[in-house]
C-alpha cells in the first residue's frame, strides 16, 4: 500500500533467534511482520510483532533497548549477518524500516561471543565490558579537592580526539562483529580517551596494562586486524584507537 507522500507499508518474513535461557539450545523461528510502515524504527517493528505474539498468548521476543536514540548502547542484534543492521554508523534503534523492501526476509540474531552469554533470545550478558572498565578505565580522583577546571589547558585537537574515542557507547557490536570476538576497539577507545588528555597521563601505563590483562581474562579474543569492528561501530570509532592502545601497551611495558 503506497501512500500519497511516498511512504508505504511493507510485509516481511522474520527469522528470529529464540532461546529460553543461557543453557538451553536456541533456534531460528519464523514470524510474519505485516503492514509495517517504513517510517517505523526496527525496534518499533519488533514491538508490533511482539504485541501480536502477546495477544495470541505466545512468548514475545526479548530484546534489550532503552534510549531508542542511539546513545545508551543498550540495543543491538545481528541483522542479516551484520551487527546493528545494514546502515553505517547507526544503532539498531536508529535503523528505520525504509531501508528494507517489501517481502524481504530478515534474519535477527543476538551478539555472539564467548564473553557474552545469551540471557534470552536477543538479550546477552555484556557485563564483561564493565569488568574491563573496573580494571582501570578511569582517572583516580575522588570528589572534592580538584583544581580549577582551567588550570590544565588541553589543546583543542587533543580534546577533540579524546572526544572521538569517548563517543563509544559500549554496545558490544565490535565484539560481535569480530571473527575473534576481540574487545580491542572497546578497550582502545577507553585507553585513548584518557591517554590523550593530560589528566589521564599519570595513570596511563598502569591503566593500559590492567585493562588488557582483564580483557584477556574475560575471554575476549586477539586482534588480527580484521577491521570488522570499525565497520559496524555505530559511533564510527576509528581503529587508529587500537594502534594507540598497542603503542600505549608497549610504552607501559618499558617503564
Amino acid at each position: 500500500m503506497t501512500q500519497s507522500n511516498g511512504k508505504k507499508n511493507i510485509n516481511l518474513t522474520l527469522k528470529v533467534w529464540r532461546q529460553v535461557g543461557p543453557n538451553v539450545k536456541g533456534r531460528l523461528e519464523t514470524y510474519q511482520a505485516n503492514n509495517i510502515s517504513t517510517d517505523m524504527s526496527f525496534l518499533e517493528m519488533l514491538d508490533v510483532v511482539n504485541e501480536e505474539l502477546i495477544i495470541n498468548h505466545r512468548d514475545p521476543i526479548a530484546f534489550d533497548h532503552d534510549c531508542r536514540e542511539g546513545i545508551c548502547g543498550m540495543c543491538g542484534a545481528v541483522v542479516n549477518g551484520r551487527a546493528h543492521g545494514p546502515e553505517k554508523g547507526t544503532t539498531l534503534c536508529q535503523l528505520h524500516m525504509r531501508h528494507f523492501s517489501d517481502r524481504d526476509t530478515v534474519v535477527i540474531e543476538p551478539w555472539r561471543s564467548r564473553a557474552f552469554k545469551i540471557i534470552k533470545d536477543l538479550v546477552v550478558d555484556r557485563s564483561a565490558l564493565d569488568v574491563i572498565i573496573q580494571a582501570g578505565g578511569y582517572i583516580s580522583v575522588s570528589a572534592g579537592g580538584t583544581p580549577d577546571a582551567n588550570v590544565i589547558p588541553v589543546p583543542q585537537e587533543a580534546a577533540e580526539k579524546a572526544m572521538d574515542a569517548a563517543a563509544c557507547i559500549g554496545c558490544g557490536a565490535c565484539v560481535a562483529a569480530c571473527p575473534n570476538a576481540s574487545a580491542m576497539l572497546f578497550v582502545g577507545a577507553k585507553v585513548s580517551h584518557l591517554a590523550l588528555l593530560p589528566q589521564g597521563v599519570p595513570e596511563a601505563a598502569r591503566r593500559v596494562l590492567k585493562m588488557v590483562q582483564k580483557m584477556d581474562e574475560c575471554g575476549f579474543g586477539n586482534c588480527t586486524n580484521e577491521t570488522e569492528c570499525e565497520a559496524v561501530c555505530p559511533k564510527e570509532i576509528s581503529i587508529t584507537n587500537i594502534a594507540r592502545l598497542n603503542r600505549e601497551y608497549i610504552k607501559a611495558g618499558f617503564l
Partner: protein
C-alpha cells in the same frame, strides 16, 4: 505531619557553609560500619554512589539496565551550567541563582537554588579532573555557549553528547569503587518497594530481571535517584525504562510527593508519525536561533510548504512576540504550537506539527555556516524522517521532556520518611514550575557529588539505628506484598496488552493534563483514569511467568503505577488554581493568553500524602518565602 524544610537561618550566601559546620560528622573509621542503598546510576545516583564509597561507606547500588553506564542521563545533549564566569560576561553565583529562581516562575526554594549555584563550579572542576572531554577553545581553555533563559554564556558542553560524557565520568568513578569493593553493583534490578522499620527507610525489595527472583536488601539509609516520571504520558523524550515505580512505592510508604503536575514540554521534537511510535526524539532548542516557525494561514491547507507563498504563511511567534520572536521560552513556544494545531493549521500527515524553516538563514549565512552549526542535528532529523532540512522545512511538535515535580525533600534532600533521601530528577527541589536548559545535569551532579555526601552523614551520626536484617518480619511482609501483586498481574489474562493501556493513559494525560489544562478537562481526566485503572486490573494481558526474564511483566508493573500516578498529577493540577511555568491552566490566563500566576494564594509547594488506594491523598503546603528576589510577571512581547 508538619513539613519542615530545615532551611538554615542566616544570610542566603552563608546558609550552606553554616549548615555544613552544624551537621554532625561520622568519624572516618565508623563510616565503614554503615551500609547505604542507592537506587539509580544516572548522574545523581552514579555520582552519589561513587562519592559515598570514596568517603568509606559501604554502598549497594541498583539499576534497571544491564550496566550503570546506560542510565537515561546518557541522552542529555545540550550542556551543563556553572557560574564560572569564564566568558567574563558578568556571571556569578548570584546571577545563576537568580536566573534559576525566575526561570522556575518563583515556585522553588531559594536556599536550595542558591546552594545549587554555589556548588555548580565544583562540578566542572570535578568532571574535568575525571577526564570529561568538554569542548575547548584554541588556547586550550574551556569553551562555553549560551542557552535559553539566560543572558550570559555559562553552559559547558561536549559536542551534542554532554550527558553521555558526564555520565561516563560518574560511571568511571563508580567503577573504581566497585573494583575497590566499596560498591556492590546490582544491575538488571527493578526496585518494587521500600521497606520501613520503625518508621525509618531500611531497605528495598527488588525483582531480579534476569531470573525473576524477588530479593530484599537492608541498609542504614536508602537513596533514591530513579529519575523523572515523563513516561506517564507514554510518549516522551525519556528512555523506555524511565518509570515512576520506585518513587511511587516510596510515596505509598509515606513519602510526600511534591508538585506532581509540573511537567516540562519541550517545543522542538520530531512529531509523532504513527500509533506504533514508541518514543519521541528531541531536537536541540538551539535550532530556534536560526529557524523560523510558521504554519499556513488557512486551516486545512495541505499543500507542500514550497507551494505556500510568503503571504499565505503565519510566522506566529514573530508576529505575536515581536521582541523575543522564535526565542520565547520553552513553555510559551510549546503552547503556541498547540494553539495553531488546535485551529487546524497544523502541518504534516497528522496535522500535529509546525514548520521550523531554515530557508532564510541558509540564504543569509550560506549552507556551510548552517551546516557547521547544526549539521549533526540535520543529519539526525534526516535519519529519522527521511526529509532533508536543507531543502524542506523541518516539522516539529512539542513533547514531554522533563518533570519538575518529585518526592518532597528538605534542605538535606531527605524525604518525609527518615532515612530516605531523594536526588536528581526524582526530587522536586530546585527547578520550581519550570526548569532552565542545562540545569538538570547540574542538579543531578550537585546532589550526588556535593550535597548528599555531607547531609547523609548528619543523619547517620544523629540517628539511633536499630540492627535490622532481611530476615526481619518487615522485609518478609513487603516481599510478600510484591509477590502477591506480581501474581495478580500474571493471573488476569485479559484481552489488552500493557502497551495498549499505557498508550491510552498517555492520550488522556496529553489531552487533559498536558500543555493546556482546565478544571473541566482535568475533572474529565480524573474519571477516565479511574475507568482505565479499573479496566487494567480486569483486562490486562501479561505474558509469561514471574520466575523468568519477562519484559511484559516488568512493563506491567510500571504501567500500573503510571496509571495511579496519573491521577495524582491530575489532582495536583486541579488544586493549583493558577498558571505557572509548566502548568498552564486555561482558566487562569492574562488577556493576552499568557500564564497568570497567583502569588497570593499559590506561592507554595503542594505536597501530597498517600491515604490509601481508594481515598484522595492528603494535601499539605510548604510556603515559599522569597527574601532575596522580587516576584515579577514574565512578558515576552
Amino acid at each position: 505531619m508538619q513539613l519542615d524544610s530545615k532551611v538554615p537561618g542566616g544570610p542566603l550566601s552563608e546558609k550552606w557553609d553554616k549548615h555544613l559546620f552544624d551537621l554532625k560528622l561520622v568519624n572516618p573509621a565508623n563510616k565503614r560500619k554503615f551500609e547505604i542503598i542507592v537506587v539509580g546510576t544516572g548522574l545523581a545516583g552514579g555520582s552519589a554512589s561513587a562519592t559515598l564509597a570514596e568517603l568509606g561507606y559501604n554502598v549497594k547500588t541498583f539499576c534497571i539496565q544491564d550496566s550503570p553506564r546506560r542510565a537515561h542521563s546518557i541522552a542529555a545533549q545540550g550542556g551543563i551550567n556553572a557560574a564560572k564566569n569564564y566568558s567574563n560576561d558578568g556571571d556569578s553565583v548570584w546571577r545563576l541563582f537568580y536566573d534559576t529562581v525566575k526561570g522556575g516562575d518563583y515556585r522553588s526554594r531559594e536556599a536550595n537554588v542558591y546552594r545549587l549555584a554555589q556548588v555548580s563550579n565544583n562540578i566542572i572542576d570535578q568532571c574535568v579532573a575525571q577526564g570529561v572531554p568538554f569542548a575547548r577553545e584554541y588556547g586550550g581553555l574551556l569553551a562555553n555557549r549560551s542557552f535559553g533563559g539566560a543572558q550570559v554564556s555559562r553552559t559547558f558542553y561536549a559536542r551534542g553528547q554532554t550527558g553521555q560524557q558526564l555520565l561516563i565520568g560518574a560511571y568511571s568513578a563508580l567503577s573504581r569503587q566497585i573494583a575497590a569493593g566499596k560498591v556492590k553493583m546490582f544491575t538488571r534490578r527493578d526496585m518494587l518497594d521500600l521497606v520501613l522499620v520503625n518508621g525509618k527507610a531500611r531497605g528495598i525489595v527488588t525483582r531480579n530481571l534476569v531470573n525473576g527472583n524477588i530479593e530484599t536488601h537492608a541498609a542504614d539509609a536508602v537513596v533514591l535517584a530513579t529519575g523523572g516520571y515523563g513516561n506517564t504520558f507514554y510518549l516522551s523524550t525519556n528512555a523506555m525504562a524511565s518509570n515512576v515505580s520506585a518513587a511511587y512505592s516510596a510515596y505509598k510508604k509515606g513519602a510526600f510527593f511534591a508538585n506532581p503536575c509540573y511537567t516540562q514540554i519541550h517545543p522542538t521534537c520530531i512529531p509523532v508519525h504513527g500509533t506504533y511510535q514508541s518514543k519521541l526524539t528531541l531536537m536541540s532548542e538551539s535550532l530556534r536561533n536560526d529557524g523560523r516557525v510558521w504554519v499556513p494561514k488557512n486551516p486545512g491547507d495541505k499543500r507542500l510548504p514550497s507551494q505556500i507563498s510568503e503571504s499565505e504563511r503565519d510566522y506566529y511567534l514573530e508576529n505575536k512576540y515581536p521582541s523575543f520572536g522564535n526565542l520565547v521560552p520553552r513553555d510559551v513556544a510549546s503552547r503556541n504550537a498547540k494553539l495553531q494545531c488546535d485551529q487546524g493549521k497544523g502541518v504534516g500527515e497528522t496535522g500535529l506539527a509546525v514548520y521550523l524553516d531554515f530557508k532564510d538563514a541558509i540564504q543569509r549565512d550560506g549552507k556551510d555556516v548552517i551546516a557547521k552549526k547544526y549539521g549533526n542535528l540535520f543529519q539526525m532529523y534526516e535519519k529519522i524522517t527521511a526529509d532533508n532540512p536543507y531543502e524542506t522545512p523541518m516539522m516539529i511538535y512539542p513533547a514531554v521532556h522533563y518533570t519538575m515535580g518529585g518526592l518532597w525533600v528538605d534542605y538535606n534532600l531527605m524525604s518525609t520518611i527518615p532515612g530516605l533521601f531523594v536526588l536528581g530528577e526524582a526530587n522536586f527541589s530546585d527547578h520550581g514550575a519550570n526548569r532552565l536548559g542545562a540545569s538538570a545535569l547540574m542538579q543531578g551532579l550537585a546532589d550526588g557529588y556535593f550535597i548528599i555526601p555531607y547531609t547523609i552523614g548528619g543523619y547517620l551520626a544523629g540517628t539511633k539505628l536499630e540492627k535490622v536484617s532481611t530476615d526481619d518480619a518487615g522485609f518478609k511482609a513487603t516481599a510478600e506484598d510484591v509477590e502477591a501483586r506480581i501474581k495478580k498481574l500474571l493471573s488476569i489474562g485479559g484481552k489488552r496488552t500493557v502497551d495498549d493501556f499505557h498508550r491510552q493513559l498517555g492520550n488522556i494525560m496529553w489531552e487533559y493534563c498536558g500543555m493546556a489544562r482546565s478544571a473541566k478537562g482535568l475533572t474529565k481526566a480524573k474519571d477516565l483514569i479511574a475507568e482505565l485503572r479499573a479496566e487494567f486490573w480486569e483486562n490486562v494481558l501479561v505474558s509469561g511467568s514471574g520466575n523468568q526474564f519477562n519484559q511484559s511483566l516488568e512493563k506491567a508493573g510500571h504501567v500500573a503505577d503510571f496509571i495511579e500516578f496519573g491521577k495524582l498529577m491530575v489532582l495536583d493540577a486541579l488544586a493549583r488554581k493558577e498558571s505557572c511555568g509548566g502548568h498552564f491552566n486555561e482558566d487562569y490566563q492574562t488577556e493576552e493568553n499568557e500564564a497568570k500566576r497567583d502569588d497570593e494564594s499559590f506561592c507554595h509547594v503542594a505536597a501530597w500524602e498517600y491515604a490509601g488506594d481508594e481515598n484522595e491523598p492528603n494535601f499539605q503546603k510548604e510556603a515559599l518565602n522569597f527574601e532575596n528576589v522580587t516576584l515579577t510577571q514574565r512578558s515576552y512581547k
